[in-house]
Symmetry: D2
Subunit: 446 residues, 4 copies
C-alpha cells in the first residue's frame, strides 16, 4: 500500500484559477514538501506545472504569470518512498481519445496492488506508482457517462481517498465513504474551491462553506454544483489530522483544530496533573496543547525551545561530528526559560522516541531540574494502513517498551499519554466514534 499524506486544492470558474491554486498550495505546504504540481484547464487545453521540492522552489523557475484557464487542480506530495519520483508527481495528466483528464489524490487505496495486478493480467501497463494512475486506468475501462464510470470505479475502491478530477469544463471532488482524509469546499465570488484544509480559503479571501460528507462526490460544471453519494460506510476520520497534520487555523472534519488541541492540553492537565514550575511546548506542533495545559493547570507557560525555521530540507551535515550537532540546528534551548525549573514538556506524539530523547537531554543540559512529558495522543502501537508513512511496529517505542522503561530511555521523571476517551472528548465529544484510532488500537475497519 502506498503512503500518501498530501494536500489537494482546486478551483472551478475563476479567471485566475491557476494562480489561486498556486497560492492555495502555499498554505497546504505543511501537508507535503516533496513535490508540487498543478494542472489548468484553459478552455479545454490542459497545461501543467510540476516539480520536486517546495512550492516556492517548484514554481520559481516556471512561468506563473502565463498560467491561463479558469479551472485548476493542484497537489503537494509528502512521502519519500518510491523510485522514479519525477514520474509520480501529481496531478497525473493523461489524454484519452484526445480528451485530457487530470487527477490528484490524497490517501491510499488499500488493495491497490491487487487491482493493479488484475489489470496487468488483462494487458494494462502502468507508467507510475500512483493510485491516481490506477483510478484513471480503471475509469478508462468503464462504459457510460463520466458520472456513471466514476461512481462505478470509486465504489470498487477500498481505502482512504480524497480526490480531485479535472475534465475540460468539469471538476469532480470526491471523499471516500469512511471520510478518512478531509476535503473542504469554499466559495469566492461565484467560483467553487476545494481544499484539504480550510486554511487555504483564508489566504484566498474565500469563504469556507463546509466539509464534503464521507462518500460525497461533488461535480462542478457550468450548470453549478451537484452531489452524488457512494455506498455508505462507517465514518472513520483520521484522528491525527486534529492531533498533528492540520494547521491550527484550519477547520477539519467540521472541527476547529485550534480548539481541539487546546482541549487536548486541558484534558492532559486534568488526567495527569504534576507539580512543576513551567509548561513548555515542543514547537511548533504542540504550542496549542501546551497553552491548554498551562491554562488548565495554572502553571506558567514558557517558550523553552526555539525552532529555527530556516533549515529546510537542504541541510547538509558534512561530517559525523557535524551530524551529531544537527539536532541542535532545528531546536535550541532558551536557558533563561528553563534553568533551575521543573519542566512539563508537551508534545503531540512519540513515534520512535529518538528525537524526544535528544530534546529532553538538551533541556536538562540547559539547566532544567526535572522534566515531565505529556503527550496529546495515546501510545502509537500499530502502523497506519490508510496511507501515513509510519515506521514498522518494531520501531514504535510504545511497542518495545512499557511506560517505565520509556521514561528511563527518554530521561524524564514522568510520562503520560492522553487517554483515548479524553482525546475523543477533546475532539468534539459524542462525535468521537467517527474517528479512526487504529494506530492506537491495531483494529482496522477494512
Amino acid at each position: 500500500m502506498r503512503k500518501e499524506y498530501c494536500g489537494l486544492f482546486g478551483v472551478y470558474g475563476h479567471k485566475l484559477a491557476g494562480k489561486l491554486t498556486y497560492l492555495g498550495l502555499f498554505s497546504l505546504q505543511h501537508r507535503g514538501q516533496e513535490s508540487a504540481g498543478l494542472v489548468v484547464d484553459d478552455n479545454g487545453e490542459f497545461h501543467t506545472r510540476k516539480g520536486m521540492g517546495l512550492v516556492s522552489e517548484v514554481f520559481a523557475g516556471k512561468d506563473i504569470e502565463g498560467i491561463e484557464g479558469s479551472n485548476a487542480i493542484g497537489h503537494v506530495h509528502y512521502s519519500r518512498s518510491g523510485q522514479n519520483m519525477e514520474e509520480n508527481i501529481q496531478p497525473i495528466l493523461v489524454r484519452h481519445k484526445d480528451i485530457p483528464i487530470a487527477i490528484a489524490h490524497n490517501g491510499a487505496i488499500a488493495h491497490s496492488k491487487k487491482i493493479r495486478r488484475e489489470l496487468e493480467d488483462d494487458g494494462v501497463i502502468f507508467s507510475t506508482d500512483t493510485d491516481s494512475e490506477l483510478i484513471l486506468k480503471m475509469y478508462a475501462r468503464e462504459k457510460g457517462s463520466r458520472k456513471k464510470r466514476l461512481m462505478s470505479v470509486l465504489n470498487r475502491l477500498k481505502g482512504a481517498f480524497s480526490l480531485l478530477i479535472l475534465f475540460p469544463g468539469e471538476l469532480y471532488a470526491a471523499r471516500d465513504s469512511m471520510g478518512f482524509r478531509p476535503l473542504a469546499m469554499g466559495r469566492k465570488n461565484g467560483a467553487v474551491l476545494f481544499s484539504s484544509e480550510s486554511c487555504a480559503f483564508d489566504i484566498e479571501a474565500a469563504d469556507y462553506e463546509r466539509e464534503l460528507e464521507p462518500g460525497e462526490i461533488v461535480k462542478v460544471s457550468k450548470d453549478g454544483t451537484e452531489s452524488f453519494f457512494l455506498e455508505k460506510a462507517d465514518p472513520c476520520q483520521c484522528i491525527f489530522e486534529l492531533i498533528y497534520f492540520a494547521r491550527p487555523d484550519s477547520y477539519v472534519f467540521g472541527q476547529s483544530v485550534y480548539e481541539a488541541r487546546l482541549n487536548m492540553g486541558r484534558q492532559l492537565a486534568i488526567e495527569s496533573p504534576v507539580d512543576a514550575d513551567i509548561v513548555m511546548p515542543i514547537p511548533d506542533s504542540a504550542n496549542v496543547q501546551a497553552l491548554g495545559y498551562a491554562r488548565q493547570s495554572g502553571i506558567p507557560l514558557e517558550f523553552g525551545l526555539l525552532r529555527n525555521h530556516y533549515i529546510g530540507r537542504t541541510f547538509i551535515a558534512p561530517h559525523q561530528e557535524i551530524r551529531d550537532l544537527a539536532v541542535r540546528i532545528k531546536h535550541t534551548p532558551i536557558r533563561k526559560a528553563v534553568k533551575g525549573k521543573r519542566v512539563i514538556m508537551v508534545d503531540d506524539s512519540i513515534v520512535r522516541g529518538t528525537t524526544s530523547r535528544k530534546l529532553v537531554s538538551m533541556i536538562k543540559k540547559a539547566g532544567a531540574r526535572e522534566v515531565h512529558m505529556r503527550i496529546s495522543s495515546p501510545p502509537i502501537t500499530s502502523s497506519c494502513f490508510y496511507g501515513i508513512d509510519t515506521p514498522t511496529k518494531k520501531e514504535l517505542i510504545a511497542n518495545r517498551k512499557n511506560i517505565k522503561s520509556i521514561e528511563s530511555y527518554l530521561g524524564v521523571k514522568s510520562l503520560y499519554h492522553i487517554s483515548p476517551s479524553g482525546l475523543k472528548k477533546a475532539c468534539g465529544g459524542g462525535n468521537g466514534d467517527n474517528f479512526c484510532f487504529s494506530c492506537f488500537t491495531g483494529k482496522y475497519s477494512l
Copy 2:
C-alpha cells in the same frame, strides 16, 4: 552610509573550522538572508565559499565536505541596497604581498564616503562598495606590525563595527568603542569561537564565555588569546538587538534576550493595563513580550495568528489580485481564538504602520470585538545612523501622526508604546544608559 545589519561567525583552532562556521551561520540566518559566505585558512591557503541567498541555498551546490582548514570566518548579509551585489558578498578576501587577508564586517562606518574619496584622490581604486574593503585598503597603507596597523586604522574609524579579520594563523575580532553591535566569544575543546549572538554557540555544543567589551580587540594565534583596547568612548549599544534583532535564545550585551522581552511585556502590562479577553502576539517576533504581558496581567494568552514559515524570499505574486492576497500568505488568523474576543495585540515595534494595519483588519474580520495594540518599543521617530536600514523620517508613522490618529489609521481601540525608562528597566535596570536610543530620540553620539 552603508546599511549593514548582518551576522558574524569565526573559529580559531578547530579541525572542522569551516564546517562549524557553516553551522554557525545557520543559527545567525535571521540576521541576514541576502547572501552568505565563509573563508577558511588551510595552513596559509585561503579558500572561499560564497553566494546570494540563504545559507542552505548558498552551500547546497558547494562542496562543504571538502572545506579543510583550522581557522575560519563567515558572514550573513542583510541589506538590499547596493548594486553589483555578487562583488559585495562578504567575507572580502584579498592578497597583499602574497599573504591572504579576509575580513567580515557587521556595522557601518559613519564617514566611509569621505575616507573613500580621500584614498581615491591618492590613487586607490575600489572593487566593491563594502566598508570591509575600505578597512583593508586603509590597513595596507599603514606601516608596522599587524597589531599596530590595525589599531591605527580602527582608531580612525567612526561608527559601528564588529569585525573578524583572518590572517594565516591569526584571527582578530574587534568591537567598536561604543559597542554598537554585539560580538560574543565562546570556547569548544580549546578552540576559540566568535559570534554575533551566543545562540550559535549552543548549536555547536560550545560554551559561551563573554561578550567582547566595547573597543576590545581580541587576537587569537597559536600563542593563545590577547586583548588590546581602542580609545575609550561612551557605550552606545543598539537597543533593537534586545527588542527585535537577536534571537530569544541568545545572550546579547551580556543580557538574556528572552528575559528582556518577557520584562518588556510585563512592563507594558504595568504601564498600560486594559480590560480585555485575550493577549496575542504578532508571531514570532513578539511571542515572548505577549507571554510577559499575559503573565503580568492575568489575561489569557492565545495564538491568534499563525505564521507560515514556508514562504521564504521567493514568493512570486503574479497578478495584482494575487499580490493583494499576499499578506495572508505569511499570517493567517485563527478564528476560534479571536472570535468575539476583546484582543490585546502585542508587537515589537511600528515602523510605517502598513503591515500592522492589515493584521488588525484581519483579526477584526476573523471576529475580534475590539483590538488594543501594545508595542515593546517607544515610537520610532528618527532614522538609524549606525547601519540599520530604516525608512526616511517622512515614512515613519510616528513622525507623521499623533497617537490618536495612528489608532484610527490602524483601526485599534487603543495603542500604547513602552516608555523609554520602562524599556531601560526591562533591559537590565541601571545599565540602561549604555544603550543607543537615537531612533527614539533623534540624538546621535557621532
Copy 3:
C-alpha cells in the same frame, strides 16, 4: 504520423554497459540533439538517466559514475514536434507485473493514430505521444512468450522502425521488414552491441559485425544471440542516410558512407561538368561530395566557407537586426578563397532554398564572380511518410519552381541535381533498387 529521426545504442553483457551507452550516444549525437536518455539493467533493477538537450548537457548533472548494470539501451531524439516533451524522452520505461521493460525506437509507425484509437476504445490510456508506448501497450495485451508476443505486435506494425527492447537479462533488437532505418550489430570482448550507425563502435574500440537484415529480430540473452524474422517485404532503405544523415565514418546498409558521398561528387562532375575555378562544399555536410567533384573534374578544391561549431542550440538573437545577422554566425566566407573566382558550390540537398540563397549571396559578396550549384540528391518534391520531419509539399522549392526560376531565386548561374540513376550508382550499383526514393518520386510502398 510521428517524425522520429533518432539514434539508438545498446549493450548486452558488459560490466560498463551504461557508460559505453553514454559514450555511444555521443557518437550518434548528430542523429538527435533534442533529448537523450538511457536505461540500465542492473541485475533486474532498471535505472534511468534522461533529459532535454545534448548528451553532454543531459548527463552533466547526473551521476554517470554510479550507473551500474551489464545491459543497457540508449536513445537520442531529434524532432521538435510534440508537446509535454519531458514525458516523451526515450527510452520509455514501464513496469508490467513488476517486470521492468524499456524500449527505444527510431522510425515512425504509419498507422499509429489508428491503432492508438482502437486501443483507447478498448479502455487503454496513453501517457506519452510516442510509438514506443504504443508498442508496449500492444505487447502487454498479447499472450504467450516474449518472443511470440513481440513477433505478433511487430508483424502488425506498418512503417519504419528500428527498435531496442530491454527486459531483465534480455535484449531484443529489431528492424522493420522494409529496412527503412539502419541498425548495426557489433562485438566488444564478448559483449553484443547495437547502434544506428557503425561509427559508435569505433569510439568503443568494438568491432562492427554486420547490419541487421530487414525484418530481423535479434534476441540476446545469457544463452547468446538468436535471430527471428518478421514477414517479408520489399527492401526500402532510406537513401538520405547515405546522402546526409549518417556520419561519413559510418557503414550504413552495409555501405561506406564516405565512399558513397565521394561517388556522388564524382557522378555530379560526370553528369554536369562546368568551366570554373574552384569547387567548394557547404560545410560539413557536403565536404566529401565536393572532394569527389574536385577530384573527378580536376578543378581545385577550396574551403570557401567556415562553419562555427560553437553555436549550438542556445544562440539567442535578441533583436531583429541581430537576427538578420544570425546566419553569418554559423557560416562565414573565406574571402581569400573565393574572391574573383568562378565557384562550384556543392551541397547535399535543397529543401526550402532559403539558407542556400543566403549562402550564395554571402559568397558573392565575398567576391565570387559566379556561382554554380551542384546537389548530391535529386529534387525533393514530396514529404517523407516514414518519419523524417520534412516541410509540407508547398514549402518544398522543387515543387514550387522549375530549375530556371530556382537558379534565379538562389542567384546562381547554374543548378544541377544528381540523377536518380546516378545516385543509385554512387550508392552501390545494382543494389540501388533497395532504397526508398519516395521523397523524389512521391511513390510510397505503404
Copy 4:
C-alpha cells in the same frame, strides 16, 4: 607571468553595442572557452554580464535583450591557470571617484609580478590576479588627463598586450609596441569596432578597416577617432596566430590566415616531398595546410579523420576504461579513406606528441600502410614568454628527442617540420622578420 590567450571585441557608437559585442564574442570563441564577459556603457552607467563557460552558456541565463548602451567591450578567456577564477573574469570593472572604468586585456605583462610587488609595498591591495587590474591600479596613481595617464602607464609596461579600455563616452584600444597580439579596427554605419580578429567583423556585416599598428593607441569619442603612439620597439608578432590560433577566415597582422596556411602546405610539399597515396589533415586545425600540400604535390586529399564537434568541455569520463576511449570521441578514422594507403598526415604543430601518437596509431589500425607526418611549424623547443600557456621545456618532445626517435615514438615512417625560412616565406615573404619565433629559437626580445 600570466598566460592570456584570449579574444577582445569592442563597439563605440552603435545603439546595439552590447548585442553586437555578444555576437562578436561568438566568432572569437575559438580564442577562449573558459569564461566570457562584456561591459556596456549606457550613458555613463556601466552594466556587466559575465560568467564561466562558453559564450552560449554564459549568456543563456542572462538578459541579453535588456543590455542597453551604445559603447561596449567584451572578452573571452582561455587559460586554465589561476584560482578563484570568478574574480578574474574580464572585463574588469571598477569605479574610481564615482567614474566607472572597464578594461579587457589579451596578452601578458612580462614583469607584472615585479610591478605588483612594488605597488603592494606602497600599500596597494589587489582583488584579482589579472594584468587588467594591475593596469587600472597603475592608472589610478597617475596624474593628468586620461590620455597622459594611459600613455605613462603603457610606456612602462613590458610585454604583450592588446587592450580595450572603456570610460563613460570614451573607448581606448591599444596594442603594445612589439605588436605581439593582433587587434583590428572595423566600421559599421559610423560605429567603430575593434576585434582580435577580422572574422568578427564579417558576422556583424561590418567592414574590416585595418590592423592597429604596433604601439598604436586609438581613442574613440564623440569627436571621432584619434591615434597616439607608444615608444617604438622592434615588431615581434606571434607567428602562431597564423599557424594555429586565428580562424582561417580572418586577416591577422594584415595577412590572410587562409592564404598563409595554404602556402605553408605548399612549402612543406616543396621542402619535403614523399611518395604516398593520400594527403590528410588533422581536422580542423590543419585542413588548409593539407589542402596546400595536396595541391602542390598532386597527391589526392582525403578526409581520413572525422572530428566530433558535439563533445565540448563537459565530457565526463567516468571510468578508466572509458577514459582510455576518450580520444576516439573527438576523432574517429574514416576507414574507407585510409585503408591500404600510404598516408601523409598534415598537422599544425607537435607539442608533447601524445595526441599525435594516438592519432597515428588510430589511422594505422584503420588500415593505413604507412604514415608520414608533415608539420607546418618548426620544432617547438622553448616556452612562450609572451602569454601562451606552453608546457615546460622538459615536456616539449622536440627538446627531449631527435627527429629519428620522435618518428619512432609517433610510429611514423617519416616526420618533417617546415623550415623557419619556409614558414616566413609562407607568411608574407620579406615581411618575415616582423614575427616572433622565440618558441622555435629560445631567443626573446625582452
